[in-house]
Symmetry: D2
Subunit: 446 residues, 4 copies
């Protein structure tokens, strides 16, 4: 019996363990044993078959065996610390390229080679992306998984290099297996079903995504665009499933109203910046009449910051009770009273609320970091419960002008300066608040 | 003027330098400067444009500027040795995953990040493969490029992971841009032109290659197969452009008569093993009647080894003068005399001549390492000048049986034992030579 | 002003006609005028542009202008009767190939050339298929459109020749634009939405359709297949959206449970026969374990025939009141009583009820004409309202055995004999009914 | 034994006939018998298999059996003359749509249905195109095949309707199986091999063809375009395999220097007109700087016409002896003497030599009929033997301006007027010749 058959046999014998955790640990151990086999000399000639075996065994793991397996990955496939010390000492003594190479080899986790060998099996790339997702979720409880995360993050960032991605238009001719992913993943404005999706892919809309050849049915990120007459100042018309389809060749504005990162396992591998710019280029070729490229974005941190600001500022504090009224936005008198003050406060928030010299608002940070301009604040642009709760119903347009993004970005990175319209500057000036009132950063940008 | 425009401007001003080497160094320096810009904070937002600029400037380098540029890559994009020492000391002190991660980051060359950022530009992957080719060629003269080579080798091995490659059939429906590469690259039996190529792609032949999505017009490796009646014992019938096309459904043997690695820049990234096994699987599905999968391979190291063996052995020495006669193989009396002795010596060479416990012959090493069986020695199977000069006209069949390759491989790796037919064993036994007579290894396998 | 511009101008001037019918006739006349222009000498050089103009004008016709336009097609693009008489007389006098060719040209409607010239415009083929649909609908009221119908039918049968169709698998990777057509067109067992559709395309199902290159988003006909363990005897399990997905490689039966002709405009261009046989071949290659290929078909004419039979036969007549009870099938005592009698009557109906020597039942006629065998009658196999109303809840399996379809078909066509199982024969023998009780044929087969 | 097996059996028994013509007739008869079977009731259910049998038997016909088979097609699959007479009489008496339809059915050859049923077999469309080629070749000797030709021509014109063709760019990424067809078919300027072909597909060239979905590897017609600086006045620079590749984005002219109809069997199904206009549109989108779209065309009928003109005109007659000198064009004094006179005569030929009111020159007729303008006569533009022999070395540029082709075409068709440059008009005016000197038309246009 070859080792491989022996291990397969072993796995098949596992039936109905008495102590579920002991069973889970045993199952995790069996997958780890297959991983060791894959790393052995047999891996070279039977690599493809062994990789398939690992994947099959891993995929058959019961739910409670996943965490034990992650810990085995951390414990059994890390580099040899003593060997690192030796290689580091040799390098400190010699400084030759060869000694550097040896040190680099010593510090690289065997896990990386394991993942590379696993990737030979069909479907493995998707499994590795999913493995990273599990690691990220477990990381809070198990900081010792940091190395596993770092290895996966490093490998996936290399494999999902922008040069290997394809920008693809997503429309009603796209396979259903991809389209249903949009419904599942959409993070900004939920897609209510196939009818809603169909409207979002109609002739006056565009949707683009990045795809990797190893995951042909999985968008990595996608962006939804409405082609409109003037820059949109409210989201409901964009989400109206029964809105008549306009003639896109007459539009002057492209509104990026939703951008969604799909793969949790690729967190930190950033595509959004490249996607927006490439979509701007593509749209400008298809529709020469377009002159505005703008987002219609939420301001996710505004309300939380406002609560904080209210602690030091009485004027702000007096606003809050009204905001806590359900449906205050339907009261015309109320909105008339609130409008100026809230817009001023929001402009102040967007321009001056910082954390570590970067804007406090995550979405703002993302678009300004991409070189966009903060163009317009829109009153009652999103009166959905989420919109009211996060942004007091306001939304903001960030405008992308290809000829100024680089200068904006440099000024933003170097000096923290924000490209802003006069209108927003004026609103911020009219705000009598001082101080930054920083809260914890949101982690995700739209 | 932005930095980017400034640099572009600078490049365009360079015209007709007086001292060619000074000019070359300056040009190399300009490309390196663009590389630094790509690594700077601007790289994030303008990465795609900067990467394109680097590529354009690099592609426009004059021939004598390439070596200076490689040296700049080695000098200016290596990791900071002092920072490595500090990180190594911290890790020696602490042993936490975080400290390991920091050390891993410290030892990774900035070059790797540079190459990853470059890869964003269209066509960059091909340029990086070609850069590795240049580094390999320069390495003999400039050992300090070893780190550059190691970085590229590591990155390319990761990117060209088998999981990202596609096995594709190559036939007369393949685009001409790919087919002309076969003519250019074929390394074993030169392709004389389009007519020769067309015959090699006819109905009784198969050709397969591995392709990477980023290099769609470039085979990485390809294998040529003839579907024959019985295992071929000579190469001329396989290369006859005017041979009638046989019915492939009646063939019982698939003869792998040529396998070519195409990309010098991917040296060390091995595909051959996987290719052969996958082709065997594919052919067995298409042609259920096939029962033999065999190579018809050269024995590239035999004659050189024979010269060496002649130094210690008089009987061998007496054979050599005859072999130096041009066209001795056309003299029937001569071949009758030589046949037994040379075949015995060749069997001895294949079974017993070793270097570091591995077979001395590179082709043999490759196929035995893949788990193949050494099946048959063929007298006067390749009487071309190259065939006579390298192998005294002999060729060998290595046979692949999927159900024994793993066991063969393990026995070969662990004990150095070679799966061999009785006929070859007998020939080797009949050889009165002793000793191994090792010469320097050939580096490439067929 | 060229004629073309003149006509375009004319069209654009048409605004708000007073008498809607007069306006409709005028609009129809304008399209006909463009058609005449397309047939003139200008058609040769400006054919593509003129064809586009005709299509645009036709597509912009108001609803009430379509019938007038069809009448203009009949009146103004028919062959010249006097010229036909002359050519017929010449042929009667001479009998040469040349005179025959002239007669053939004389009788061919100029409409055919008009349709061929129109087809040059993008999207025209779909418009012509739709035009045929309109003609068919109008034909009952306007028998003078028979010639227009004959011309379109002749042309479309030639263009949609089976040799130009592609059999394509339809699954969850198919573009949504095609999938939504399945939901729209499915004629046998309505598809309740995307979830229902997704289940019908799962791993234990197959769906195939014929497509024409000029209508890439339009299935012409599609068939739904369930891969099951034994021949299905009831439809609800096949339509259960929440049924677990079985392993198709273990199935022994392929059940054709729905076949739908999609294009009303292609009525009479038959694909169904070819589709079934090609799907059988394809499935047998993919799943070597399959041994039964059977339909699960409705018996659409049974109940209507039963009502008729009841007029002459008292025993039958006494059954009817019970059948008219809503939900009688849920009364166990009742079904026990009815089962034998109804099954005998249905077997009699399937084997002996004829019209013009062909089976009265349309679905039966279709499958028996294809060479299928009448295999099994299934009691309460479809208790949906439609199933109860048409077939008293029964369904039938027709079995396709590739090695007997030709003989079955010949026996069926020549002698009207029906390949039948013993079980059904016995049921029919046990039926005490005599006579054929023919009602008007249903026109469509499942 | 079924009929089908019986016939197959019959065929297989045919071996080594004594009288070759008797054997040929027998083989032809067997194919015809299979055709009759395909037309019988069995054709409906076993159509696909029978069609394959017919094709296989037809493809296996020996060379001398083809003509007998064509005669059987003419004799046995023509319409029934008596039935035609009856249907014609009924129509003369009744004039209803139904009677017209019956007459149309009576006159249609059963051959058409035979061809449509044959087309169901894979590869049949190509066989039918080839069958037409054979009919055309045989037609001169066998005028009774005119009906077979008319049927095939009618059917193929319908199937190869422009609406079903795809315009495809042909370049170095095109499959070799298509590219080798260009080498085979090129009719204007022979392609010397793969190197020549590669140059004609380089970046400063374009090549387009029409393809039909049923013949994916077969261009129906293709056009070769050079993107140049100014309108080319000579062909050798365009055919120079070693000419440096120019930057196509800087070109101001697109020169159509070769257009080839590939399928003899599609003679009379015209694509050329549509191809040129579509290519002009496509090029203008890709290269906005292009302002001239011109041919560089031969004048195939000029020398033959000149010989004829010399009979009546002494001045012309005196030129001829010089033209008969081999290589007169290399004698500078000679060319100086001849230039003006020959160019005047050629302008006269192009503008005034007619047959039936159309230009005598076939190429001229084609391009002027398409609405092109006769722009420039080029002295010694093609000094190849063929060029000297047909056109005394001259070539002509026809210019396509999309905004005038329709008007040019109408004027040409209605009044025979030719859009011409002043330079050519002047040359023609300066010619002292009168009369038209018509010779038999060339049949093919470039």
């Amino acid at each position: 019996m070859t080792t491989r058959n022996f291990l397969k046999d072993l796995i098949s014998k596992v039936a109905a363990p008495v102590d579920p955790n002991r069973g889970a640990r045993r199952r995790a151990g069996e997958v780890a044993a297959l991983c060791h086999a894959l790393m052995s000399e047999r891996g070279e000639v039977s690599g493809a078959a062994l990789a398939r075996d690992v994947l099959a065994a891993y995929s058959a793991l019961p739910a409670n065996a996943h965490t034990p397996f992650l810990h085995l990955l951390a414990a059994e496939f890390s580099p040899d610390a003593a060997a690192i010390d030796r290689a580091a000492a040799a390098f400190a003594g010699g400084r030759s390229p060869q000694l550097l190479i040896k040190l680099q080899q010593a510090v690289e986790s065997p896990r990386q080679e394991l993942f590379r060998r696993l990737n030979v099996a069909p479907g493995a790339t998707a499994v590795l992306v999913d493995l990273r997702r599990r690691v990220l979720r477990e990381l809070r409880n198990s900081p010792q998984l940091a190395s596993v995360d770092a290895d996966l993050a490093h490998l996936l960032a290399s494999w999902f290099n922008r040069g290997f991605l394809k920008l693809e238009r997503i429309d009603w001719r796209t396979p259903a297996i991809v389209l249903e992913k949009l419904i599942t993943y959409e993070a900004v404005h939920e897609i209510a079903g196939w009818k809603d999706l169909r409207r979002r892919l109609a002739a006056d809309r565009r949707c683009f995504g990045f795809f990797h050849p190893a995951l042909p049915d999985e968008p990595l990120i996608f962006i939804e665009v409405a082609l409109t007459d003037r820059i949109s100042d409210a989201v409901p018309p964009l989400l109206d499933q029964d809105a008549p389809v306009a003639d896109p060749t007459r539009a002057d504005s492209a509104i990026f109203y939703s951008i969604t990162n799909c793969q949790e396992g690729l967190r930190g591998v950033s595509f959004g910046n490249m996607l927006i710019k490439q979509v701007v280029e593509q749209l400008s070729r298809e529709f020469p009449r377009l002159k505005n490229y703008a987002t219609l974005s939420p301001i996710p941190g505004f309300r939380a910051w406002l609560d904080l600001a209210a602690r030091d500022n009485e004027a702000v504090a007096t606003l809050l009770p009204a905001l806590k009224n359900r449906d205050w936005q339907q009261d015309a008198a109320m909105t008339a009273t609130m409008r100026d003050k809230l817009m001023q406060l929001c402009a102040h928030y967007l321009l001056r609320a910082k954390k570590d010299s970067a804007p406090l608002d995550a979405v703002s940070r993302f678009h300004l970091g991409n070189g966009a301009r903060l163009e317009r604040l829109n009153w009652l642009a999103d009166t959905s419960p989420a919109g009211m709760q996060r942004s007091a119903g306001m939304m903001v347009n960030y405008v992308y002008r290809l000829d100024e993004v680089e200068a904006n970005h440099e000024a933003f990175v170097r000096e923290g300066s924000i490209a802003t319209s006069h209108a927003i500057k004026k609103l911020a000036r009219d705000c009598d608040l001082t101080g930054r009132h920083t809260v914890a950063r949101n982690t995700d940008a739209n």
